[in-house]
């Protein structure tokens, strides 16, 4: 029973992880840039949600509607002003640049709001639903439902709309896409915007059950890498799967081994995947 419980909450938290992973994988797919500032984008989403809640009393789950456009604009701005300049340079330099951007974001937030832990307490933060003998945290359940909705909408967008197909084409072969008349610069801006808004959304969804502080991002950046490498860099389906798997590994690992070692377990799985199948679970298909 404890295992089933852990499995369920693992899947629920895995939904949020999937959002973070999908954002990272889309950015990587379209631009071949590994965004080391991804967790920091999520952190900004958390702060947006926190202040929308404390100052304007917007419910964290409703605030997603505000967080998504703001984070999209922020991501598009970053792409246009900074990331776009280093698309052709060494992968190492791209990594360092995004690390630098992440440091700037987390330290600016720290300057503005101090490094104190903030807690967003809603009326339902600690309430839980009971289904078939399993108790499920209500905010986690709601966030999972929203995650599923957003992921479904994103699939539809990528698969069915012209813009979505153009993004996928850019991810498959940038030059060929350009030759077909696709504005790849615009697609890159869109991709970074989408990636940032997904990270921001994950931040918003997780904020009722997590501490909000400036350095919260780096742990999630690492998690996002584990998820995307596990699923296969550039694969949206893979990132979704990877998110769920990591969520389950963490929560089942915490119950069966110990919660101190669950992160070690995650990194160990990451290394094994890197060594055995660096292309990941869904490595062949790109997006």
């Amino acid at each position: 029973m404890v295992l089933v419980q852990a499995l369920v909450s693992g899947i629920l938290i895995g939904g949020v992880y999937a959002l973070i992973g999908i954002g990272l994988t889309i950015i990587f797919g379209v631009m071949r840039v590994i965004n080391f500032a991804h967790g920091e984008l999520m952190m900004i989403g958390m702060y947006l949600t926190y202040f929308l809640f404390t100052l304007l009393h917007v419910d964290p789950f409703v605030s997603v509607l505000i967080t998504i456009p703001i984070m999209f604009a922020f991501g598009a701005f970053l792409q246009k002003t900074v990331i776009n300049r280093i698309l052709g340079s060494l992968p190492q330099n791209q990594i360092l640049l995004t690390i630098g951007l992440g440091l700037i974001m987390s330290n600016t937030v720290m300057l503005a709001f101090t490094s104190d832990y903030k807690i967003l307490t809603t009326s339902y933060s600690s309430s839980s639903l009971h289904i078939a003998g399993i108790s499920v945290s209500q905010p986690l359940a709601v966030s999972f439902a929203i995650t599923v909705a957003i992921t479904a909408a994103l699939y539809w967008f990528l698969m069915k709309t012209d813009t979505g197909q153009a993004i996928r084409a850019t991810a498959q072969d940038r030059e060929a896409a350009q030759l077909m008349g696709i504005n790849v610069r615009r697609m890159s801006i869109l991709a970074f915007g989408i990636g940032a808004s997904l990270a921001g959304t994950a931040g918003a969804l997780i904020s009722p059950t997590y501490y909000v502080f400036p350095q919260v991002g780096s742990a999630f950046t690492l998690k996002a890498f584990v998820i995307t490498v596990l699923g296969g860099m550039g694969s949206v389906v893979g990132a979704t799967l990877g998110g769920i798997i990591i969520g389950v590994v963490e929560s089942v690992g915490a119950v069966t081994i110990s919660s101190d070692w669950k992160d070690v377990l995650v990194f160990a799985i990451f290394l094994v995947v890197l060594l055995v199948k660096p292309s990941g679970l869904m490595g062949k298909s790109r997006m």
Partner: protein, 350 residues
Amino acid sequence: MKSRAASAAGTVLLLAALAVLVAFPAFVSNPYALHIMILLFLATGQGEAWNIIGGYTGQYSVGHAAYFGAGAYGTLVLLQKWNIAPWYGAWAGVAVALLLSLLIGTICFRLRGPYFVLASIAVAEIVRLTVLNVPSVTNGAEGVLISDLPPFTIGGWVVTDFSTKVPFYYIALALAIVTVLATWAVQNSKLGYYFQAIREDQDAAHSLGISLNFYKNAALLISAFFTALAGVFYALYVRFIDPTTVLPLDLSVQIVLIAIIGGIGTIYGPMIGALVLIPLSEVLRSNVIADLLIKSGLVGVDSGLGIFLKGRLAQAHVLIYGILVVVVILFMPQGVLGFVRKLASRKEQG
């Protein structure tokens, strides 16, 4: 081509700089000034050590905190738990770092580019979490604190009892010099040529019969050795270590940035990087700017801005690392040193 006169002038300049550094504590006794110099030497050592694997061999390890921490923990844990003098414990710490580097090399060098970067981070995080999770050996999150260092004696004669910063100054200087000399030796040896061949084109190097695995591991081993020594020094100098000061990802990043900001794959790069980064981040950390602004009367002590500057600016010294790395990568991809050289050559031409 450099003329012989210019190179002789360079040597004279270098020796003069060295003489100034050696004589420095005789003229300056301000502990804070000595502290800044010690941090400079430490950062130079860290940057040069990373440069061997990152700059010369082209393998961007973002997990060097693991070696730094291994050196630091090895020394202090042995001293605290078993009362083993640091002059022996240090080598145990270095040995742990070397073993760790062999393990990490075996795992990570099968991967290339961004995958190698990610793997190096993952291994360093595993090391940090392990140290955190075995408190029986490492004290976990509490860290290791040493109140007194045993005096350094040779055959009954007390060389120093470490009551001032001066002995630390000379040890840090010696460490930095040794690391620089080692880098110089590597750069001008066959080993260094192999490293650089691997950096320029792994496959071409491999096709010429250079064993990638062997030479990458050799580079990492040398790099880990000097990083661990820096860790040993840090532990003995500060006398307090915990996983958030000697093992975090931030430290790995800072080590890389020292080399990147100065200019990788050069002897002078990490020195320049340390010279740029340490004073800037110390100025922020120690509230010099806030104090100056308040003293000059530009900002009132009790004004909102004054309180903000005094209270917050010190926390954000890492911000300068972020801004610098973004500026350097966007506008000076060869680092500050490369940028200055380019400016100089432009001047000569036109």
